[in-house]
Symmetry: C2
Subunit: 475 residues, 2 copies
């Protein structure tokens, strides 16, 4: 078969998944486990943004810094320092020199066919991959993720800024690093490069950081960045950027000041890049931010309603730009595709990612960590809930004080007073990432607070903050 | 008033709590919050065993060792070592030179009357404290805890061994330390002293360690102790002990071998010391291990049934010898006493520590940590449940691998297949302590596994092991 001949018979699979990041991998794997033949299409790296440019490398970079500080903060543990070369070497191990052969080996092992190339929908159940046609007997799943968004500030693109990709993979530690943005990538990478020795300037247009979190979370990270020597400027609007070989990158700000850096990281959001997907061929819609519109079952919405053979999961549908939420959607989607193909009943509970609407869990791996799940206070009020908020300092329990001398942090739960259940929680502090999951279980399981009172945390773990929260609530 | 005159009018309070450890403090505090006057009686230190001889000092000792190793196990963090003097100084800060003035200040602050002395029941609602009579209008709460048990092995007591008290408070790091026992105290302290430079020999009568946990937990700790250079001997029965000023402490074993050490820690269990409580004056019963027999509402059981003015909470009732479970009972007890005194309805759900029967959560702060909650596989089978066990290695998720290079550990959940809910969980590995609480919430909240599937852990936290467990289960 000559794939360059359009008339050639298309390749045919039960399911075609577009995008081989963790989300596509999970959708493909679940469909395969249901007995379907599956092709997965990837234009760059199997494993995707998360494995090579986001979650894995950034956490590989952050963990040695956290572990070093954790040691430094405990009396009786001495001498720990960050070794920048070791940190970069560790990151390189995780991204394997941008070689995805490990992930490709897994696809081979489980029997998912990998097609390298750029995919585009041609029509119902039909995809083109670099000129080759691939037909899906049952379903096409779009799991194409998102790309860094670079705003059209004059001169910015010409200055060839770093995005999360370059920041997560570089071996260069610039003397001066500028960061535009105040979200997760901006905060995490500012802290990494400050710890590795860069002089870091963060320019945020908003008044604070991490605007999707509770306000106190962003405030804690702002304080920490300044503690780490980062020059954090809020309300800063970059109006022009230019790069000069000798000087570096010059940023002009709306207040007429300038900042000169050696390298510039732009971390101002994501772009789903859906213009290239061929959605128009099947009437699929996108929202005003460019994300594919889906229903609760992740079926793409067209002009005449659901498109029950075309799904969009993960970043591309814009519901929750988080690997774990995309994987959650992907598992439900793969199961759904499998059940539908067999003509089996589709278990609404299991094959619908209904917990997304409760508010996704997320951890920002800064120091302090920010771990949140469910709704913020404001989100809960915006939904019209009768809200009660409980705030306590983390050192209200003994566990955090044993974890680090002078432990500082904050915990909040958001309670739906009418239902008597938790609807949100946020933890700020060292090593709080794993304090989060009990909140997610309580929220998703709708465990009454009166029952949570009987879930006793072990003394003196950090988790005893849960007892303090419920005591403060009045139980 | 002359307290030495028996005829003197007794002191009178609404509630008299015997024992001012965390358990007694919590019972007293909850009764006080219900508007009752409360006296608390303490013969030694306010704050109790936990604050001065157990939880707090041992975790203060262990944390610098854990933090140092966590740093050493991550590429990019270099140079960390344990500073033994710093470790001991840290512990001393936590136990405040065995000065309980901080805790006494809290009692004063909240308005609980402290009576120093040894208490003994004289009759209904009447207690004697070193010759002074103290009457309770409503209730007496026994929260006297437990003491180290020292077996009657020939020569052992004469050799003046350490118990948990001396091990937790000493500034001396013996060149050679012997440990008799294989439970929590034995394992934690063997590891501490090995890390501080002692040559440690652990003699366990049983075949393994931590016999109340899943077998793989004790195996992991045994492996770790040996890794740390501890000479661990299982099936070892000490038949005679002698101390000689020049030689040290000589232990003779049943197999005719001998072990010579400079100091000997006996960690073979606890003794509730109930013989001194005057229980016979009110007909209170103890079980064959000496623990006070109570009903589900913690009311002491006498020959004619409940004694609805006399409660026993914490170690002394033998239900769960863990500070957090004692505090849990104490909160329920204090609330119950308060409600009963007011003639208010006693909320059965809130004022009864019903979750105790589900199996208490516990963390052993060894390296690796052992975190368990609910039932072990065997306990679940013994209850006649239709059990399914899911075992996975901790490195099945990415989080542990990011936490430490070459992370090793194990996770198990025990599922009640008929009910479709979790009934037990055990985690073994570095930093697993806070992976436990989601399991406790799920067990206590009886959250169906099908619902837990929608509680998504954040990538790449350690908590993602929850996803792997449920996937392995077949969801």
């Amino acid at each position: 078969m000559d794939p360059t001949t359009p008339a050639a018979q298309p390749l045919e699979f039960d399911v075609v998944v577009v995008g081989a990041g963790p989300v596509g991998e999970n959708a493909a794997d679940r469909a395969r486990k249901a007995g379907l033949s599956v092709a997965i299409i990837e234009k760059h790296l199997v494993g995707g943004e998360c494995s090579f440019y986001a979650c894995s490398p950034t956490k590989a970079l952050l963990r040695p810094i956290h572990a070093t500080r954790a040691s430094q903060r405990v009396q009786g543990s001495v001498g720990a320092t960050v070794d920048p070369v070791g940190v970069l070497d560790r990151r390189d191990t995780w991204i394997n020199g941008l070689d995805d052969s490990g992930q490709v080996g897994w696809l081979d092992h489980v029997g998912i066919t990998l097609l390298r190339g750029t995919a585009r929908l041609l029509g119902e159940r039909l995809v083109e991959v670099d000129g080759r046609r691939v037909a899906a007997r049952h379903a096409v799943v779009l799991a194409t993720g998102s790309e860094p968004f670079v705003p059209d500030t004059p001169g910015l693109r010409e200055a060839e800024p770093w995005t999360n990709r370059e920041a997560a993979t570089t071996r260069r530690i610039p003397e001066r690093l500028g960061v535009i943005g105040g979200g997760v990538v901006a905060c995490e990478m500012a802290q990494v490069f400050a710890a590795l020795g860069s002089e870091v300037t963060v320019l945020v247009r908003a008044d604070g950081l991490l605007s999707r979190n509770e306000e106190f979370a962003g405030q804690a990270v702002a304080k920490a960045l300044r503690r780490d020597g980062v020059d954090l400027r809020t309300g800063a609007q970059v109006t022009r950027v230019s790069r000069d070989g000798a000087v570096g990158v010059t940023l002009e700000l709306a207040d007429a000041s300038t900042v000169v850096v050696d390298e510039l990281l732009v971390a101002t959001g994501r772009d789903p890049g859906t213009g290239r997907l061929g959605l128009e061929s099947v009437g699929g819609r996108t929202d005003d931010r460019g994300y594919v519109v889906v229903n609760d079952d992740m079926e793409v919405q067209g002009p005449s309603g659901d498109t029950p053979w075309l799904y969009a999961v993960g970043d591309v549908n814009g519901q929750a730009l988080l690997t774990h939420m995309g994987k959650y959607q992907a598992r439900a989607c793969g199961d759904r595709v499998g059940a539908r193909a067999k003509g089996a009943a589709m278990d609404g509970e299991r094959m619908r990612p209904w917990a997304t609407a409760l508010g996704p869990p997320q951890v920002v791996f800064t120091d302090p960590e920010i771990a949140s799940t469910g709704l913020t206070e404001q989100q809960a009020r915006d939904r019209g809930l009768t809200v009660r908020v409980v705030d306590i300092p983390m050192d209200a329990a003994a566990g955090p004080g044993l974890q680090a001398e002078g432990y500082q942090g904050q915990a909040r739960i958001v309670v739906d007073e009418d239902a008597g259940v938790l609807v949100g929680a946020t933890f700020v502090g060292q090593d709080v990432a794993d304090l989060l999951h009990p909140a997610t279980v309580a929220i998703v399981g709708k465990v009454p607070l009166a029952t949570l009172w009987h879930a006793v945390p072990s003394y003196p773990t950090m988790s005893e903050i849960w007892l303090r929260l419920l005591e403060e609530y009045g139980l």
